[in-house]
Symmetry: C2
Subunit: 337 residues, 2 copies
DNA sequence: ATGAAAGCGCTAACAA
DNA sequence: TTGTTAGCGCTTTCAT
């Protein structure tokens, strides 16, 4: 009948001490005589004892688990955030439960299971304003937003400084002499699409270029939507000399459509994206883009969350990270400048 | 003092029944009078009671959580497996804890935390033979491998039928009349690279083509390694007329290098990959590839794992999925054939 | 159909 | 420094 795993008490019995002493040993308490400790450790080793994390969670009232909810787990941007967040969590002894919620209803259920049932100690929500899911976001629970700063002013967030990044991307095209610059956005219900559009507008306006609403086409982050966007411009007979796509995948779609239409990039059409995903330098031509450090976004989010959980700090903060212009041949014949 | 959450007993008290009856209600037991049930449900609603998942795990001795360990979470292939696995798990009321382990030591620690400390009920390991990590894989624990079938013959697995897929990819090139076909592999310590090389060899041998070791170059799945591979062939002055790259990213690298070297794809060099990742149809030229249903791999793995956990079945099984040839312009001028 | 008793494996608080 | 006594919030017997 030695089939079930040994418990704290089994170890205590073997070592001839109280179970509490064993608890002290496994928790690294100083109040244990070296000889007692040795005795206990020997018993632990002999029985192959491993503490039960669930029982510990139960007694402590905390799970040492965090959750990260994302629209999906495969999108390179999301996956990078999650990986960064997971690594940081593990470094602090926490686990990360990452889940995808495709729509508000799935999100609601997930939050109920995770937060309502006390399965986790804190929550990271990627793209909280992607749809109506923000209605189901728990207040009064350790929470960090990723990808958009909170509308309510007591929730922490980490995101790209979208307005600034878009401004700089547009600025790059302006500096190259372009005046006919189109914009392909992400879904406009997402804050980051709005903010990037804002940066684009500011750059144009500062350059004294009249703003033309028809130069903006809404995409959905996919390459296909980028392709469609350029096709629309072609159909309308209003092909710009430059395109700022709000992410690299759409930029790739734009370039692909240009190729099929016989439009040369960059000589007839300059293209810039955002992200610098791993394949961007292998596009044809290699893509100029605003490189962001996405894993860092995840790391910072986890750090904030653990701060809230452990130090009980409630300092609201909205961290905005920058991106770096990486010039490649999609905006420059030589790839230099 | 109404600050802490209500428990089962609080609800019981309010409803005027025993806590056990409340337990029966939240667990959907039939042995409760409708009127009693109504009473209890009213109390639950009034107090906003939600059962505590940790306490439940504690009492039941199971966590309703699975883990998936992958070399990383960002690689499109891995992320797709994880997403498929996570969705399937949730459909069965389980959660998925996905973690990355970059090396065997990290893997060992992770397994100890997850399995040793009983944090999860079952484990999925992606690419178990990526390095020496297989030494630390727990026996006698619900376990499924993804990406390679188990060397020991009592572990379940789900993977692509690598040998067959590679055979078919090579076959496609042969059918186009190629006889000088190079192979760019993944890391050769991974089973899937070996198996894909095997399928390549079989196709060549069946076609009566002498096998030439120098036509095989080992890559590491990155686009850069595909690029380097083609550059090597060029340097050696032995440029093939076709390349089978063991994944799409390396195929992209090959095409990128070809472009820079002035080698036309597909007229001077045909290229085929494996995966059909979202961007493959936007490559220049669009990439011919063996499309696999990666999320399904994750779903099947989870299903197997839950079978082992719930039905206690121990039927070993190695599920091998097929891939589908998708012909695009990287092997065919017209994209038709 | 309902309730009472016991315990899951641990930590917390207090006592010795 | 060590042990004792109580739980954490639930499920699982076993009575009734």
């Amino acid at each position: 009948m030695t089939n079930s795993r040994p418990t704290l008490r089994d170890v205590a019995r073997l070592a001839g001490v109280s179970h509490q002493t064993v608890s002290r040993v496994i928790n690294g308490s100083q109040d244990v005589l070296p000889e007692t400790r040795a005795l206990v450790e020997a018993a632990i080793a002999e029985m192959g004892y491993r503490p039960n994390a669930i029982a510990r969670s139960m007694a402590q009232g905390q799970t040492h688990t965090l959750a990260c909810i994302s629209p999906n787990l495969t999108d390179f941007t999301f996956a990078s955030v999650i990986e960064g967040a997971e690594v940081e969590a593990r470094q602090h002894g926490y686990f990360m439960l990452s889940s995808s919620a495709v729509d508000p209803e799935a999100f609601r259920e997930l939050v109920d299971e995770l937060v309502g049932h006390r399965r986790v100690d804190g929550l990271i929500v990627i793209n909280p304003y992607a749809d109506q899911r923000f209605e189901f976001i728990p207040k009064d629970f350790p929470l960090v937003f990723v990808g958009a700063s909170a509308h309510e002013k007591n929730i922490c967030s980490v995101s790209l400084d979208d307005e600034k990044v878009a401004y700089e991307a547009t600025r790059h095209l302006l500096d190259l002499g372009h005046t006919s610059i189109a914009l392909v956005t992400g879904p406009m219900e997402e804050d980051c699409s709005q903010d990037r559009a804002e940066g684009y507008r500011r750059a144009l306006s500062e350059a004294g270029i009249a703003f033309d609403e028809s130069m903006i086409i809404e995409g959905d982050w996919t390459a296909t939507s980028g392709q469609d966007a350029l096709l629309s411009f072609i159909e309308l007979g209003r092909v710009p000399t430059a395109v700022f796509a709000q992410n690299d995948r759409m930029a790739m779609g734009v370039m692909s459509a240009a190729r099929e239409a016989g439009i040369k990039v960059p000589s007839q059409l300059a293209v810039i994206g955002v992200d610098d995903m791993p394949l961007s330098s292998y596009f044809d031509p290699p893509l100029t883009t605003m490189r962001q450090d996405i894993p860092r976004i995840g790391r910072e989010a986890t750090r904030m969350l653990l701060d809230m959980i452990q130090k009980k700090t409630t300092n609201t903060c909205d961290l905005k990270l920058n991106a770096e212009l990486v010039v490649r041949q999609s905006t420059s014949q030589k790839g230099g400048d």
